[in-house]
Symmetry: C2
Subunit: 333 residues, 2 copies
Amino acid sequence: MPLEKMKAAWIPRFGGPEVLEIREIVRPVPSPDSVLVRVRAAGLNRADLLQRQGKYPPPPGYPAEMPGIEFAGEVAETGAQVRSWKKGQRVFGLTGGAAHAEYLAIHERLIAEIPPNLDWKQAAAVPEVFITAHDALWQQAELRRGETVLVNAVGSGVGIAAVQLARAMNARAFGVSRTPEKIEQAKQYGLADGIALRDNLDELAAAAERWTAGKGFDVFLDLVGGSYPSTVQTMMALKGRMIFIGTMAGSRYELDARYLMSKRLCLRGTVLRSRTLEEKIAVTQSFAREVLPVLANGTLRPVLDSVFSLGEIVKAHERLESNQTFGKVVIEI
Amino acid sequence: MPLEKMKAAWIPRFGGPEVLEIREIVRPVPSPDSVLVRVRAAGLNRADLLQRQGKYPPPPGYPAEMPGIEFAGEVAETGAQVRSWKKGQRVFGLTGGAAHAEYLAIHERLIAEIPPNLDWKQAAAVPEVFITAHDALWQQAELRRGETVLVNAVGSGVGIAAVQLARAMNARAFGVSRTPEKIEQAKQYGLADGIALRDNLDELAAAAERWTAGKGFDVFLDLVGGSYPSTVQTMMALKGRMIFIGTMAGSRYELDARYLMSKRLCLRGTVLRSRTLEEKIAVTQSFAREVLPVLANGTLRPVLDSVFSLGEIVKAHERLESNQTFGKVVIEI
């Protein structure tokens, strides 16, 4: 039996968006505990841009040439031991790479069923941002109802997902963005208030005081890094939690133990992509248990910035690289 | 009925050990939910030295003139609502201050019963170091059997308590001290291995590699601060926990999010003295539940550096201030 073929985005060499190609390559074959997914749409992520630039090698087992870390599609085949999925079911999830292709083989415990109210494009905008924000905010920060959260880069995909997850928990989310328009857009998704700041964070202190009535933030979701951690440590509430998941503005933090100790702060660095299979399964299953119901009833809404076809992969990369996006860039496949 | 008197250590003005006096003052009267303890022995702590220097005001409700944050003694009187204690019972615990006196009034839920195998001096050497190390290592760091712990200032009271608590958990404790002799002494309490370092921490990396077989430390209990956090962040294991409870060498930490994120580290600052009553009760009760049995069976051993009478309070302060101590300085009262 000849091996079947498929189209896939391909990185022949590291460089700008223009290096990207669409190639016809061999379709993967699912192992006994995996399913083969016919990908219908897939989100584009900063990790894909970095992989294309040669700055973010995918984990072992995923080819450096194939970007794509999230997908939505239908089950096309199931491995011999798979009992929980049937051909034709609509599924989505995260993967270590190779999702910007017509077919993807993935472990049966790393996918979740798409709620009926989401189409392919909307579903493709869910996994990366909602799984990341859910793991950071609900799981690691242990956000509780009535608490306050500060999110920077609040206009980013993860930022907006975090705002929605905070609101779904009856917590109040406050935000910072470099762009005033993104603050206003984020308010449509539940942001209680926000402030547009560029490199000077001085105005944040007065805003924090006002927003939290002097109590400080219970949770800080840091998507930016740089001077944020040292600035925000002074604005945290007693027993506050600072979660570090991004370092676009720099990774060296100057922290002061006097704040950490007197407020008994908890700081966590986190990253999803390098986790073990069993940890990724746990994250996926807790997402399915806790987040899918709130996605299905419309409380959480996927946010689409723009949609491109697989043939327009270069344009899609250019769009995300522009930093003008609000919500997800999605590729239809 | 005339108010009864008692002797107490007194700080008439801030300064060196020589300012300390023994005064005769009014004996406290227990509130309905408190007991009056006839203090028999009390540990001396760095907090007392700082309070004497005017650098560490006690929490509200405790006079600035009266040092003493831990004690062992017998119940002399019980408040009207107290049902859990009887006159004559041997108790110990932590307090916000005023423990270096013949009598101390304290909430009935903030004391625990002294195991029969400990005399007054030994019992007085327990609360501060074992409650602090237990809260940090077993509770906050969630130390598990088989894990590795790095403790700096391993010759300090809390350091040795941490070593013993790690060993009681079947974890392996490694230590740093400025003094080679303290490493050898700590080995008698279960330290797996240690290294004497002064300001240059370069040798620690090779030791960490050797001790943990390249895996890194699961827990770092930082009693020193300064350059330790930035040095040790590179030596932590995946999902390691760094607990900050001391800043003798400085409180400004330079941390790198790349370590924090790729290893998914959890950092916690902690301090006991400023906690709320209900938190202190929780800490005391969990100490009583988890630590008393291992104290009673001799697995954990209080470590006495030296014993002074209340009249020798100046000498006691001088001894602790010398930084030559190994284990606790205790005052008999």
